[in-house]
């Protein structure tokens, strides 16, 4: 009897051994240095940065690669766009420009006053014939350097970009974002307390829902000419690619630091949680900038956004009254910046059982299903989809497309559904099972 019991134990143990889990052999994708979404700030306590010009190439979703120039922090390798510099109101910002390119390069800081270059006012440069050669003193080609400095006096969202041959050099990639945070309220976009009727409010935002979107365009013929040292007539400027944060859709929704985009570290997926008065009371802050040559009508689907500032100036009247406004399309002019706030709010508290939407949802065969529909109109819910259609999405989350409404600009050299497109992803309220 004992040996029979022992035999059963041995058999059981041996069966258990057969299901020992295998170690997975994962080689991690290496995204650990950056949050998967949202702003990636380059910052330091002294607000001193070294921007080095680099050349490199970027990847585009139609399989092409394009030669670019870019600003990188210190000795970092080429990246596009330049690092997002985050400073605090009142900081004396110092930027050392080291130029490795074979062209003179400078940096201008639209919206900043009293900018110095090597200690003297940064002013336009003219040649001996009186022709404008640069909007700011240059770092000479092949190793020159210049140091710019200014006091970041006003909170807001700003560009920094090349002031030399800007038509060419900005298109080549010499630009980045500068974020100035209020000294007393780093989680506010601006210092002002806005009066809207009898109500006052601030521009406080959810700190983990802050996003930067830089809209740009690329004429690959220009880039090829620069790479090969050939002349280029700006009258022939014809963009073929349109990028957000240096990426064209669907790369735009890939995470920050995606390993397959080593030169293009910044994603533009707007990933948020729904408004909740107790657990998630503040909206997302989306800082939008353009270095394009024409207006980009950026159109986030699903809900209006509230435009709270343009070009680093909060939309407030002299009596502190509210001048912000809601828009479903943000018309973004060349060189402009716009700050918008957005919160997805379940206003009616729809619920499939407790508070169903008072619309009879047609039968499955009478519906057309969007690619990202979970089968249920309720956030966080999933339901049946037709046979042959995917059964669930990740966790009942919503995806709202956000795209340039000049539809020729949501292409990649003629391939549709690329270019200026990103998504807003709204997860079910926390806790959820999203992966």
């Amino acid at each position: 009897m004992r040996s029979s019991r022992l035999s059963r134990i041995v058999l059981l143990l041996s069966l258990l051994l057969l299901v020992v889990p295998r170690s997975n052999g994962i080689v991690t994708a290496g995204h650990e240095d950056m949050p998967p979404h949202g702003i990636v700030c380059t910052e330091n306590p002294t607000a001193t940065f070294t921007l080095t010009t680099q050349e490199g190439t970027i990847s585009l979703p139609d399989g092409n690669r394009v030669y670019m120039w870019g600003f990188s922090e210190g000795g970092d390798p080429f990246q596009h766009p330049g690092p997002t510099l985050c400073v605090t109101e009142g900081d004396t910002v110092t930027i050392v420009l080291n130029n490795t390119l074979s062209h003179d390069v400078s940096i201008i800081f639209p919206g900043q006053e009293g900018v110095l270059a090597d200690g003297v006012p940064s002013e336009p440069v003219f040649d001996v014939g009186g022709n404008l050669t640069s909007f700011a003193p240059v770092a000479a080609a092949n190793g020159g350097a210049v140091t710019y400095s200014f006091v970041a006096a006003k909170p807001g969202t700003y560009l920094y970009e090349s002031g030399t041959e800007p038509g060419i050099q900005v298109n080549m990639g010499l630009f980045g974002a500068l974020v100035v945070r209020p000294a007393a309220h780093p989680n506010w976009a601006y210092n002002e307390i806005v009066a809207s009727g009898a109500v006052t409010y601030t521009t406080e935002f959810a700190p983990d829902e802050e996003f930067v979107l830089i809209f740009s365009e690329i004429d690959p013929v220009l880039h090829m000419a620069v790479e090969q040292g050939l002349p280029y007539d700006m009258n022939n400027f014809t963009p073929r690619y349109w990028n957000i944060n240096g990426r064209s859709f669907p790369d735009t929704i890939a995470p920050n630091g995606a390993e397959w985009l080593p030169e293009q570290p910044y994603g533009s997926l707007i990933h948020i949680n729904p408004y909740d008065v107790d657990t998630h009371p503040y909206p997302a802050l989306i800082r939008i900038l353009s270095v394009g040559s024409e207006s980009f009508p950026h159109h986030p689907h699903g809900n209006h956004s509230r435009i709270i500032a343009r070009d680093g100036s909060v939309l407030i009247d002299t009596d502190q009254s509210d001048l912000s406004y809601e828009r479903f399309t943000v018309n973004l002019g060349p060189g402009q910046t716009v700050d918008e706030m957005f919160a997805w709010t379940d206003v009616e508290n729809w619920h499939p059982i407790d508070n169903p939407i008072p619309v009879v949802i047609p039968q499955l065969q009478n519906l057309t299903f969007g690619t990202f529909y979970s089968g249920s109109p309720y956030l966080g819910q999933t339901d049946l989809l037709p046979v042959g259609h995917q059964a669930l999405n990740s966790c009942g989350e919503y995806y709202h497309i956000a795209h340039n409404h000049a539809l020729q600009q949501i292409t990649a050299w003629g391939v549709v559904l690329s270019g200026h497109i990103t998504f807003t992803r709204i997860d079910p309220p926390l806790p959820n099972n999203c992966q």
Binding site: S23, H271, N393
Partner: protein, 164 residues
């Protein structure tokens, strides 16, 4: 009542070996094998799944006129992106438009499948050497970065693709 005691004899099998001892011996053999197997699984050479690994399938290229080039988990894990380059625009014109030509992505860890219903217009113009993409919802996180997957299209498949 007369008390009786049952005497249980030991059944010797056809080989004359007590069955309980035979079971014990077999069990020990299995546990030894299992231990060796488990040790191999735990400590033996492991496949290094390198993100971005994309094998090539001449059969798929011949039949469908496309070469898969890229698989990545994107949108913070909510979507999966698959790219392919057009090798033969004639064969690729209807790629993805029928169940027989629509690529599925299957996790090699647990067999979870993601698929897509619509991939544009039939007979749409595709250009040779251009790259096109397909977005999938990542059903329940089926596809994971750094883990192997199989791309299946029609009766052909491409195994050991490792997602970014």
């Amino acid at each position: 009542m007369e008390k009786t005691t049952a005497v249980v004899g030991t059944w010797h099998g056809p080989l004359g070996i007590a069955m309980n001892r035979l079971a014990l011996a077999l069990g020990l053999l299995v546990i030894l094998s299992g231990g060796l197997f488990a040790g191999w699984r735990l400590f033996g050479p492991q496949p290094k799944w390198v993100p971005g690994t994309m094998p090539v399938s001449p059969e798929i290229e011949e039949k469908f006129g496309v070469r898969f080039t890229f698989l990545a988990v994107t949108a913070d894990g909510g979507m999966v992106e698959l790219r392919y380059r057009v090798i033969d625009e004639g064969k690729a014109a209807n790629f993805g438009h029928y169940s027989e030509t629509a690529p599925l992505v299957i996790s090699e860890d647990d067999g979870k499948i993601i698929d897509v219903t619509i991939m544009g217009l039939h007979n749409h113009r595709v250009e040779p050497a251009r790259t096109y993409y397909v977005l999938y919802r990542n059903t329940e996180g089926a596809i994971k970065s750094g883990r192997p997957a199989t791309i299946a299209v029609g009766d052909l498949s491409l195994k050991h693709v490792v997602s970014w």
